[in-house]
Symmetry: C2
Subunit: 502 residues, 2 copies
């Protein structure tokens, strides 16, 4: 059975139920699972783990590529399976458990997890659970809609469970490019020199004797929940397109721009949509997630090639793309997230990195993760891998949130994920601040003039002036620096009620 999917005959006898396979995973183990931004996660085995733990409690360390779909993080959390989780998540239930200190969450640059595993700086993976479209004649694992950390998990794990997902189209085979950096101290350069460099194998090469179970599943990936562009995100896109036009006019970019990266989510997706009606052409992407906008740009004839580590689409776009995958196949490639996000490659190619900020401050420090400095949202993801090494590190956000009770531009961010050294361009619906080459006081003036919402401008200007009067390279009033966040926590709004400033 499943001869076209499990082509190595010796593995056909290892087909078993998810519950049986899940028995391999015991209390205290470290498990590495496929899955990146709701794409290509193992589906049956984690569900079986949650079911079992509801009766017989146990807990594990769970590593993935990034977020899981099908509410798996929710179910695993509710069943108490997660003692430790890394390197990223987006689930509401898990988020609460993390913020309550019940699940230990290690928030990592997405390029680094498998490097740490390989160097034995994290506990070794006992079991890897990898979703696949097929196992090749030699026992190679063909991933589905994401590569994420799957290849290194499978290679480094003691035992491997493969979930063959019959709902994932066989046409995915050939899309992946699995390359693992050689071990130090003999590591060679990673040979990606263009977005379309193919440097590895179309499957994960492992010793097939490590595959101890094959589970058949049929559940589909969850669709993405990105929102359609709105007035604010369209304004952000307009500011950015106009900035790129200026860069082309100044000779710093060509009309092909440079390879684009965009973080996941509605704002970044919307910004990419803005490029459909731009004068640029023959563009390329070197990104993590290939989202709706990637395929819309292909369809508009704007994009030449896209490299990523997962494909995550909305319900609208999903059928369209997967029904016509062969049409796109020679223009896309899926790599391990270590390679899609590798500092070496990002610096070499000169990426234009567009990521979403939760908030940023006067001086261009960016908070991507922590609400009011304490409560984790999702994690830093790949934004640090890209921003630090990019040709242009761009962060975008709406200038206000919660109906204006929150200003995304604050005197001092309550948590720093990207320091001022790593942030070139800030964009809100209000405008764009080009911070390149500027000193902190100059950066502050750009941020005040171009990014902050008018409702908060006088308040921010006042803070800055009084801080400058006190002095310093990066002027601040320590007693007030976090007062906007305190006011939000205590009074539900960052606004100062009195018309007179303190």
């Amino acid at each position: 059975m499943y001869q076209d999917r499990v082509r190595l005959a010796s593995l056909q006898g290892k087909v078993m139920s998810a519950a049986q396979a899940a028995e391999m995973i015991q209390d205290g183990m470290t498990v590495g699972m496929s899955g990146f931004t709701r794409a290509g996660e193992a589906k049956a085995v984690p569900q079986a783990l949650a079911d079992r733990a509801a009766k017989n409690p146990f807990s594990i360390t769970l590593m993935t590529g990034a977020s899981l779909g099908n509410d798996l993080d929710k179910q695993l959390t509710e069943a108490g399976v997660l003692a430790r989780r890394m390197p990223f998540q987006v689930d509401t239930t898990l988020r609460k458990a993390i913020n309550d200190g019940k699940v230990m969450f290690t928030d990592q640059h997405l390029s680094e997890t498998v490097e740490l595993l390989r160097n034995q700086q994290l506990k070794p993976v006992d079991v890897a659970v990898i979703e696949a479209v097929a196992i090749t004649e030699e026992g190679g694992i063909v991933p589905t809609t994401s590569v994420g950390n799957s290849a290194s998990f499978a290679i480094l794990a003691k035992k491997v469970i493969v979930e063959i997902n019959l709902s994932q189209p066989m046409t995915l085979e050939g899309l992946h490019d699995i390359y693992i950096p050689t071990y130090r101290p003999f590591r060679e350069p990673i040979p990606v020199v263009r977005t379309d460099s193919r440097i590895g194998l179309p499957y994960i090469p492992i010793d097939p004797s490590k595959i101890e179970a094959v589970v058949i599943s049929e559940k589909q990936d969850s669709c993405s929940t990105v929102l359609e562009p709105d007035d604010e995100t369209r304004a952000i896109a307009r500011h950015l397109v106009s900035f790129f036009e200026g860069e082309v006019a100044a000779g710093r970019l060509t009309e092909r721009l440079l390879p684009l990266q965009a973080g996941i989510g509605s704002i970044a997706n919307s910004v990419l949509h803005g490029l459909i009606d731009s004068p640029f052409k023959d563009m390329t992407m070197y990104s993590e997630v290939l989202q709706d906008s990637t395929f819309d740009l292909f369809d508009a004839g704007k994009l030449r090639y896209a490299s990523g580590c997962s494909i995550t689409l909305s319900e609208r776009k999903n059928a369209e793309v997967f029904d016509h995958l062969p049409n796109y196949k020679d223009r896309i490639i899926l790599r391990p997230q270590e390679i899609s996000n590798h500092p070496e490659v990002i610096r070499r190619l000169g990426i234009i990195a567009i990521n979403t900020a939760l908030e940023f401050d006067l001086y261009g420090n960016v908070n991507s993760t922590h609400v009011c400095g304490t409560r984790m949202m999702n994690g830093i993801g790949g934004s640090g891998d890209f921003a630090r090494n990019a040709h242009l590190a761009i962060f975008v956000t709406k200038s206000i949130a919660k109906g204006g009770d929150i200003s995304s531009v604050v005197p001092m961010v309550s948590h720093v994920d990207h320091t001022e050294h790593d942030v070139d361009i800030l964009v809100t619906d209000q405008g764009l601040a080009d911070l390149r080459g500027l000193a902190p006081r100059e950066r502050a003036r750009k941020v005040i003039d171009h990014c902050v919402h008018p409702d908060y401008r006088p308040q921010l200007q006042d803070y800055f002036e009084r801080a400058c009067a006190k002095g310093g390279h990066t002027p601040h009033l320590l007693g007030e620096a976090l007062s906007w966040h305190q006011r939000l926590e205590e009074a539900g709004s960052m606004r100062i009620e009195e018309p007179m400033l303190a």
Copy 2:
């Protein structure tokens, strides 16, 4: 005259006084000068600029590799020559001008300055002023005790002034390895695969017609002012050696360790000295500055090879090394700082990066630059280039400063240069916290148990417990997070006077 130093005959007619050469530099220009950590800076022309400006005021943007010796930043500041300065400095007078907002200082990762120049993201260099031991028969410039940004400055500048320094020994020739990354989008991998990879030329290759002046100077480099090891720095070194021994025992390192990088300064220098009496051998360095400790490790037979971008020695060590340079020459190499600090190479080689923190916090965020969040000390330097991409990112500091009025371990750092994602190991005289793979609450317990000074431990423990009670992935009390710094500013000490905690 100077035939052995100015070997291209056509340039011998361009020898002129520093004052004459300095006339090329006019108000508003951008000038790129050699010099990295008080080594190999142009000496005569900047002095002439300061002298001229004292009579006829003008100002420029000055870029260097890093800090200058011979009090040049002081004199240029006092003469009002510096409108803008990047990417690093260590001078007291300049520091004050920066903190007063009089000089615009752009604090950059040291690997990035020339990348930005090459991409036209900074204003172009009008004039480069490069100290050299010689100009070759073809017009190539042979740098002196540092390479820093000199090669790219000379290559990108419209005009070049070469200062031939007769006090710099001719034996320096052959030590340098000048490699410039190819332009995007055709950039190839940087072919450094070992600390001793020689990939470029022993001189800076430029069109000699750009050399419009040759100035002869004789002033020596300033010696470094590192302090001898003391009880605290020896304790830090002991904790670190013992940690490395554990890593070897666990099979994560061999007795050769991995290539070492150490920041400039007394603490890092002292830590490296601690390796003299360690069980490790055949070690290598891939660092910025080759300091006393580098040569002491050579002399002790512990070090096999050292790659850097400058040599900065104390008075004691200076004569010793330069009188016997041929003895070391096949074991050292000086590269452009773009290469010594390149993320690509650092990630590839797997560096052990040891840098000094000004302060760090409960969760492992590090402040390297700003006193009380506002006043710049020196700049981030190369610490970010190394820490982000290292095999081990280690930060060291004494647990207290100013006779105990300052705790270097605080609830929340007042400025973030290195985020918790980039910090693996923290060491003070009190002990070592291994933060790898841990969640913030776990990191905090390690920091409290191992790093904070006993005088501040109850205070920090109390903060942490009350913050945890409030909740969050990274628990904080926003109203108190910066209160230690406020107390320092207002009362001169971070200590709480009352025995009862607030």
